[in-house]
């Protein structure tokens, strides 16, 4: 009996080993390609890359929740992770200042806004300085929130698609199909926003932060900007600045990046200004995804066009 049991165990073991060997070369062809690792610097690029690559790539966005990716500073170990990626997707236009001081391998880097770099908007209203023979200069650079001009967002998605195709030419069809669907969505947002902007016309608007430059330019919106934070209640100096802006720019709405403090809303109410959120969605939203957040933004801004 014991002998029979031992024989049965050995036979089972051999069968299992045989099965394992067959599993290793199930299709008889080359081993499956490793999924490329793609690192991105903001959430919109993560959304675009994930939609385009599907499950054929590991898209990683290492900025912690609640942090602004534009001003986030990674530790050297985190930069090392970017260096070891197969593809590093940058926003361009000076977005994520740390990129300028980091050592990233150019062969892996794709600047998604390179195709419209001649249309970058210079940041204005900043103090310049001069020292030595270099002459007056500023370190402010350009406006960075390129993707809320949805046509530019589509160009950025195209750049990601091209880079992924170059990385895995065998997946060109899949990438092309996914990219086409994403472009349709983004251009749909663009068309909708244009339609609403037509209705808004020249109505004066105030933005709480200088992040809406490309949006205002693309859709022909009349926006003036202050530099307020949603979670900081404006002081007397800030309110004075607002008052002077309102003299020549009689806006009825202030657009915020995030939900403003109730005291700020109250203060703005005393100036006859309603508060409205247009979330640029630089980091992962608490609810929904890039598309749903942008659709909500557009639906909210539509109320400006609808108001008498």
């Amino acid at each position: 009996m014991r002998m029979t049991l031992a024989m049965a165990m050995i036979t089972l073991g051999l069968l299992e080993a045989g099965c394992d060997r067959h599993a290793g070369s199930a299709d008889g062809g080359a081993p499956p390609e490793k999924r490329p690792v793609v690192y991105v610097v903001n959430y919109p690029l993560q959304y675009f890359a994930q939609r385009i690559a599907g499950d054929r790539a590991q898209v990683r966005f290492p900025v912690p929740a609640g942090r602004d990716p534009a001003s986030w500073l990674p530790a050297p170990d985190r930069i090392a992770e970017f260096q070891s990626a197969d593809l590093i997707v940058l926003n361009g236009a000076g977005y994520a200042k740390w990129v300028e001081t980091a050592s990233l391998p150019p062969s892996k880097v794709v600047n998604t806004s390179a195709s419209f770099s001649d249309a970058y908007i210079e940041a204005t209203g900043t103090m310049t300085h001069s020292h030595g023979p270099a002459g007056a200069h500023t370190h402010a650079g350009t406006a960075v929130t390129t993707w809320i001009d949805f046509r530019q967002a589509a160009a950025q998605a195209q750049a990601i698609g091209d880079a992924l195709t170059a990385l895995r030419p065998g997946q060109a069809d899949l990438v092309g199909a996914n990219l086409g669907a994403l472009r349709d969505d983004l251009l749909g947002l663009d068309a909708r926003m244009k339609e609403i902007a037509r209705r808004i016309g020249d109505t004066p608007l105030i933005a709480s932060h200088p992040v809406y430059q490309y949006w205002a330019r693309r859709y022909g919106l009349n926006v003036r900007t202050v530099t307020w934070e949603p979670d900081v209640v404006p002081d007397a100096e800030a309110l004075g600045e607002l008052k002077s802006i309102l003299t020549g720019h009689p806006a009825r709405v202030m657009i915020w990046e995030g939900e403003p403090d109730s005291r700020s809303v109250e203060l703005l109410g005393s100036f006859g200004l309603a508060s409205m959120v247009f979330n640029p969605c630089g980091n992962v939203p608490q609810r929904g995804d890039f598309l749903t957040v942008m659709r909500q933004n557009i639906a909210d801004i539509e109320r400006v066009g609808a108001s008498p």
Binding site: I79, A80, S103, M127, T128, H129, H131, G132
Partner: protein, 392 residues
């Protein structure tokens, strides 16, 4: 036989001064051409290996030799610089990957090589300790540099000032060692690698300074002209890049116009290589060259010089051997009394001739062994010597 050996050895040992001079003279005359041949051969191997591993080099239309020696072996002879945009020109052509190289500054004699992260996988360089450079102001040092200076990750190296007497010039930059490379038996062992942007900061083309718009800046402000703040000479520029001040570093020029000395172009196939070479054939400002062709031209010159030197050494060797024969013949004449004594005490002519022959053979063997040992030692040290000579 033993008695013959003993007699001849006693003679050689008793007249040790004469024997040493003879051994040294014969050894040197054999070693010098042999050692020279070994050195040249090692130089050829080193030069060709590095050149063969570098498909194409783009540089300013200057001396091809200076360009190749600077880009491949980090020699101190610096070719004319060209704009960094030359790198993107190659990348944009789609015909090759491009790796920029800027070799201008040194740290205690070791070359500081400004490049990109792509350089390391291209050369097959691995880290022995620490990590890759991640930010401005960090460097990765070669194995020999680390061994010579006792450097480890976390230590610092300082760039040498371009000119000692230019007080208003560029100040040295203190750089943190992020990693140490494993030995690769190549010029990379003797180099300090930094990001291209760090190399430009060493040159003073980029810098970091305190924020003049901040409330704390008072003594450093000369005047305010509307929305422009004019700083005075007290504006402090940082000589070390730290996490606290890294954000203040900036360049006053478009990076595309900043200087590099060469671009290593790596075409994926022969067709791309040919097309790329064709594109730069009529370029008036830049040249795209095949390093192996430059090195072979250099080696052809070296070989012709070597042949002349070896011919001269052969003539000197012949004269030396003639002198050695003369010394032996004169010595026989001086030893007539000694030979007669050996004969009187019963030594046959054959045995006396054997003793004298063994003395001469002993000197020759010792000289040849000495020359062989010296040649072997040269063979061992030659790769290192060649690398050091090339990088100086």
């Amino acid at each position: 036989m033993t008695d013959l050996l003993y007699m001849s050895w006693r003679y050689v040992a008793y007249h040790w001064m004469k024997s040493v001079i003879l051994v040294a003279a014969i050894a040197l005359i054999v070693f010098i051409p042999a050692g020279l041949r070994v050195l040249v051969h090692q130089g050829e191997i080193q030069l060709r290996a590095r050149a063969q591993a570098t498909p194409l080099l783009l540089g300013s239309r200057d001396s091809p030799l200076e360009l190749a020696l600077n880009a491949l072996y980090f020699s101190a002879d610096r070719p004319e610089t060209m704009d960094f945009s030359a790198t993107s020109d190659i990348t944009a052509s789609g015909l090759a990957d491009a790796i920029p190289v800027y070799v201008r500054f040194r740290s205690q004699g070791d070359p500081i090589v400004g490049t990109t992260i792509d350089y390391f996988p291209f050369r097959g360089l691995e880290l022995a300790a620490g990590r890759q450079m991640a930010t401005l102001g960090e460097c990765v040092v070669g194995a020999a540099v680390a061994a010579d200076r006792g450097l480890a990750p976390g230590d610092h190296v300082i760039s040498s000032p371009a000119t000692f007497f230019d007080l208003a010039g560029v100040y040295p930059l203190k750089m943190r060692v992020a990693g140490v490379l494993a030995s690769s038996d190549s010029p990379d062992d003797h180099a300090i690698f930094v990001d291209l942007k760090t190399a430009w900061i060493i040159e003073g083309l980029g810098h970091g300074h305190q924020d003049l718009a901040q409330a704390g800046a008072g003594a450093e402000i000369l005047r305010r002209d509307g929305s422009n703040i004019v700083g005075n000479a007290a504006v402090r520029e940082y000589q070390e890049i730290t996490p606290d001040n890294i954000g203040s570093f900036h360049f006053h020029r478009d990076m595309a116009t900043l200087p590099i000395t060469a671009v290593i172009a790596v075409p994926p196939d022969r067709k791309s290589r040919t097309l790329l070479l064709g594109r730069y054939q009529s370029d008036q400002r830049r040249q795209l060259l095949s390093p192996i062709e430059v090195v072979d031209t250099l080696l052809a010159t070296v070989f012709s010089v070597e042949n002349v030197v070896v011919a001269a050494l052969a003539a000197v060797g012949f004269a030396t051997l003639a002198l050695v024969v003369l010394v032996f013949m004169l010595s026989l004449r001086l030893r007539r009394g000694e030979i007669a004594t050996m004969s009187r005490i019963g030594g046959s002519r054959a045995r006396i001739a054997s003793i004298l022959g063994m003395e001469m053979a002993g000197v020759l063997v010792m000289a040849l062994v000495t020359a062989g040992v010296l040649t072997l030692a040269t063979g061992q040290l030659a790769p290192e010597v060649v690398r050091m000579v090339l990088s100086r």
